[in-house]
Amino acid sequence: MDISFFTAAVVAGTPLLFAILGELMTEKAGQLNLGVEGMMLMGAVVGFKTALITGDPFLALAGAMLAGALGALIFGVLTVSLRANQVVAGLTLTIFGTGFSSFMGQGLMGEVIPESMKLFFADFKIPLLGDIPVIGQIFFNQGMLVYTGYIAAIVAGLYLYRTSIGLNLRSVGENTAAADAAGIKVSRYKYIHILIGGLLCGLAGAYLSLVYIPSWQENVTAGRGWIAVALVIFCRWNPYRVLAGAFLFGGLDIIGFRIQKYDFHISQYMIDMLPYLVTIIILILVSAGKSSAGSPPASLGESYFREER
């Protein structure tokens, strides 16, 4: 294993990073949105299409994020205003998003991102930090969006733990009725953070189609949205841990491909199972160890209706 493996793991982990952060924000508001995969796919296709039409990276990213937020908005209306079952609403969003992306992606197969845009997303070295041996090479010789990911995780952490709005948000997720009684606008908090979740998931999808692949593939997410939902649990709803979780799974994602050259006598399809198997093992371990520090927001997944106690 050389350093390039770890550099590549960070790249592969970045879409996960955005998606995990998005789902984490949503869950902190007490809403369980299982539509991550769908919102990522919507973001991926809209971002890619915008990139082809306009050639402008900012427009492509903005389009992708808006597409993700549009999916999140549907989820918000259904689960916050209409109090629909969150599990079913999220699943439907995934089915809808998958259909949306293969519909919009019709005829995009084989199209490639323009060179000028690849240049925009290309790696560059951060002065000083990038000169640190090993760590600099792994973390600070990356593309613009990878750096954005680091910043997003830190900002999310500060927001949740160091601001009063973040405190309010956590109280909405922990005890909605108490937050409501304290005068916090519960529905507004829920909507805003569902939408933030959608923006981030859209960005995660755009990273896949614009930077990671960068050509069009049907079903480009390949289950990463679901892994992101599981990794929120692994990271125990803590944005700082998301950095570790995302890059660890970025590594698992690429290990199957990398290991081929070492000529192990294991089928590649078996190694491809690894991220999913490890996710399962983590789920089991997290649920078996019942420490309250890493427990989910207490009101997660429950509809809140003020007049119904």
Binding site: L82, V87, V88, T92, F100, L283
Partner: protein
């Protein structure tokens, strides 16, 4: 001001009307979408119906596509009754198909009378175990079953890919990665122009309906699904209820895999499920988890899929449009349930003194 209050007085007729209205609204919404694409929505819907029911052949095709949906929806509905969010039907179908295929490839010369039941039993056991694994951990440690069952889908898919490209690859296919075709003994016979899976589906609908409504085991599922504590106080073994119910749920989905492999494909491939495991989540929810309603909803959904392939040819509208239509319908039905559970009334401003 808008006032919302919980209601319990919604009659079956009223709630059916609300759902029906929601489906119509969904169709209208998708019409706008079709108009943006530059087509006439009436002619698109019209040819979808024609594509699904226009000829005897098309009706047979629609019914053929509805069978896996019906069987998988029945399986999923058992789990959902327990509030166990089994979204692993896709993987359970694949495991069931693998179990059936193993029998079909190992004993190709066995008489149909022995081989087919053996394949069925193998598929139920394989699919059932695939469901029971997450159920065991859910019962023991409350492990999140939604993600667990979903991850099991991907593990099953990779396992099937491994078999297709490795140990089960047909040596006669000159290096092409495909699993050998079944011997005629391993193929479900045709009954009235359609493979016998439709008989299995109808029998299953009746069995599940009776099981849920007229047996103690079925009653336990409803109680535990309503509240695990109630079940516990009533002296039920909640863990056992969860594990065997999900074994049944997965087993029925596994049987769906056997029906598809034996009745339709006559072999096994990674595309065996055609996404039925996911679509069946929608159909079982739309059926309110009621077994007798499931076939109706599933035939309608199969008609959308079959009609979707037809409009692809007629209008060059991608087939995935059918998926968008399905998603939209479920969005609207989900939203409409609010009006079944809550009464929304408009009241005048308190200042105006209109409220009593």
């Amino acid at each position: 001001m808008i006032k919302m209050s919980a209601r319990t007085d919604c009659s079956a007729k009223e709630s059916a009307a609300i759902r029906g209205g929601a489906i119509i609204l969904a169709l209208v919404t998708v019409s706008f979408f079709i108009m943006i694409l530059g087509h006439n929505p009436f002619s698109v819907y019209g040819s979808m119906i024609e594509g699904a029911f226009g000829t005897v052949y098309r009706i047979t095709e629609t019914l053929r596509k509805s069978i896996p949906l019906i069987v998988a929806s029945l399986g999923i509905s058992l789990a959902f009754r327990l509030k166990f969010w089994n979204i692993g039907a896709e993987g359970q179908i694949m495991m069931g198909a693998m179990g059936a295929t193993f029998c079909a490839l190992t004993f190709p010369d066995l008489s149909s009378w022995l081989l087919l039941p053996m394949m069925g039993a193998a598929s139920i056991i394989c699919g059932g175990i695939w469901g029971a694994i997450p159920a065991y951990f859910r019962a023991k440690w409350r492990t999140n079953e939604t993600i667990f069952t979903l991850m099991m889908n991907y593990v099953a898919l990779k396992w099937l890919t491994y078999l297709q490209y490795g140990p089960w690859k047909d040596p006669a296919a000159l290096g092409f990665p495909k699993i050998p075709g079944f011997s005629p003994n391993a193929v479900l016979p045709n009954v009235f122009g359609l493979h016998a899976g439709w008989i299995i589906a109808i029998v299953l609908v009746i069995i599940i309906h009776l099981f849920i409504n007229h047996t103690q085991r079925g009653y336990e599922i409803s109680v535990v699904g309503g509240s695990e504590n109630t079940g516990r106080y009533a002296g039920m073994n909640v863990k056992a209820v969860i594990i065997y119910t999900i074994f049944l749920s997965g087993g029925i989905c596994g049987l769906c895999g056997m029906i598809e492999a034996s009745g339709v494909n006559r072999t096994l491939s990674v595309g065996i499920t055609m996404g039925a495991g996911y679509t069946a989540i929608i159909t079982s929810w739309l059926s309110s988890l009621k077994a007798p309603v499931i076939p109706v909803v599933c035939v309608l959904f199969a008609a959308m899929i079959q009609g979707g392939t037809f409009i692809q040819m007629a209008f060059q509208i991608p087939q995935s449009a059918a998926q968008i239509l399905q998603g939209t319908i479920l969005f609207f039905v989900l939203g409409s349930e609010f009006f079944v559970r809550y009464r929304v009334s408009f009241i005048k401003n308190i200042k105006a003194g209109g409220e009593k």
